[in-house]
Symmetry: C2
Subunit: 180 residues, 2 copies
C-alpha cells in the first residue's frame, strides 16, 4: 500500500475530536492514573501530543523542505510534555490540542505538496535519511500509537475488578509497546 496524503490528513483531522469525545469530563480515575512508575496517564499523553504539534511534525516538515539531508532534525524532547501540562486542566489540553492540530493541517494544506515533494528527504538525528512521505505517515501512526496507549492505560485501572474475564480481554494482555 502506498502513502496517500489526503488519507493521512483525514485521520489527523479526527484525532482531537475522538480524544475529546472519549476523555472530556471523564472521572479522573480514567484520565489521571497511569500504569505504574515511569508511565504516562492519558492527561500526560495529551501533553505529549501537544508538544509534538509544537516541535515535531510541521517544524520537521519545514526543515526537511528547507535543508534536505544537510541538517538533521532537532531531537524530540520526550519530556517536553511536562511544561505543557503544568497548571493546566484536561479540558484545556483538549482545546489546545484541537487548536494546534487545526493550525498544523491548515499549514500543511497550504504547502500544496506535489508527489515529488513527498519523495524529498531529510535527516533524522538517529534514523538517518527519511522522506517527507514517511514523516507524514508517521504523524498519523503516532496518533494511533497514543490512542492505543490511552485505551491500554485506562483498561489497566480495571485490571483486577474484571475478575476471571481478564483472560478474554485483549487490551489487558498488551505489555505496552510504546516508547512513550
Amino acid at each position: 500500500m502506498e502513502h496517500n496524503l489526503p488519507q493521512t490528513i483525514s485521520l489527523l483531522a479526527r484525532t482531537p475530536a475522538a480524544l475529546n469525545a472519549l476523555l472530556r469530563d471523564l472521572p479522573e480515575t480514567w484520565t489521571l492514573r497511569n500504569e505504574g512508575e515511569n508511565t504516562w496517564s492519558p492527561f500526560e499523553i495529551l501533553g505529549h501530543l501537544i508538544h509534538g504539534e509544537r516541535t515535531d511534525w510541521m517544524p520537521r516538515a519545514r526543515m526537511l523542505l528547507e535543508f534536505g539531508e544537510t541538517r538533521p532534525f532537532d531531537p524530540f524532547d520526550r519530556w517536553g510534555h511536562v511544561r505543557e501540562i503544568e497548571g493546566r486542566s484536561l479540558p484545556q489540553l483538549l482545546d489546545e490540542f484541537a487548536r494546534l492540530r487545526m493550525a498544523s493541517l491548515r499549514d500543511l494544506t497550504a504547502m500544496n505538496l506535489r508527489p515529488e515533494d513527498l519523495e524529498r528527504r531529510g535527516r533524522h538525528p538517529a534514523l538517518g535519511p527519511v522522506s517527507l512521505s514517511e514523516l507524514l505517515a508517521t504523524w498519523a501512526v503516532h496518533d494511533l500509537t497514543h490512542l492505543h496507549q490511552i485505551s491500554r492505560v485506562m483498561a489497566h485501572q480495571y485490571r483486577e475488578v474484571v475478575g476471571a474475564w481478564s483472560e478474554y480481554l485483549g487490551v489487558l494482555q498488551c505489555a505496552g509497546h510504546s516508547s512513550p
Copy 2:
C-alpha cells in the same frame, strides 16, 4: 482499586461518540481493511460491538439477577457480527451502536443497583461463577479492548509507509492480543 459503577457508566456512555468522531466518513482504507486472514476491520469490530449490545451485556445482567448461578449465560456468538453488518454502511452501524448503547445504559440506570446487587453472582458457561460487578467492569474494558484493536488495525495499514520510524511506533509492535 474497587469497581465503581458511575465510573463504568461514564466510560460506556462515551464509546459511541468516540468511535463516531474517529471513524465517520473516514476513507475506506482505514475502516474496511483488516490485519490479514481471519482478522477484523474496524467496520466488523463495530458489528461485534452492536451484537454484544443486543445479546451480551444487559441480557447477561438480567439473567444473573433472575437466575443467579443456577443457569449459565448463553454462550456469546463471536461471529454474530456477520448478521449485523450485512448490507449496512459504516454510518448506519455507528448510529445503531449509539442507539443501542443509550438504551442499554437507560435500562442499567433504571435497575437502581445497590452495592449488594453488584456482589450477586451468575454463571459464565466457561469461566464459572462471576459477579455482576465483574460483568459490568468487563463491559467497559471490552470497549477499551476494541478501541485498542481498532487503533492497531488502522495503524497496520501504514506499516510499510512509515519507513525507518516503525521501530519507534508502539502500536506497530503490538502482536494483537484480542480474542476478536
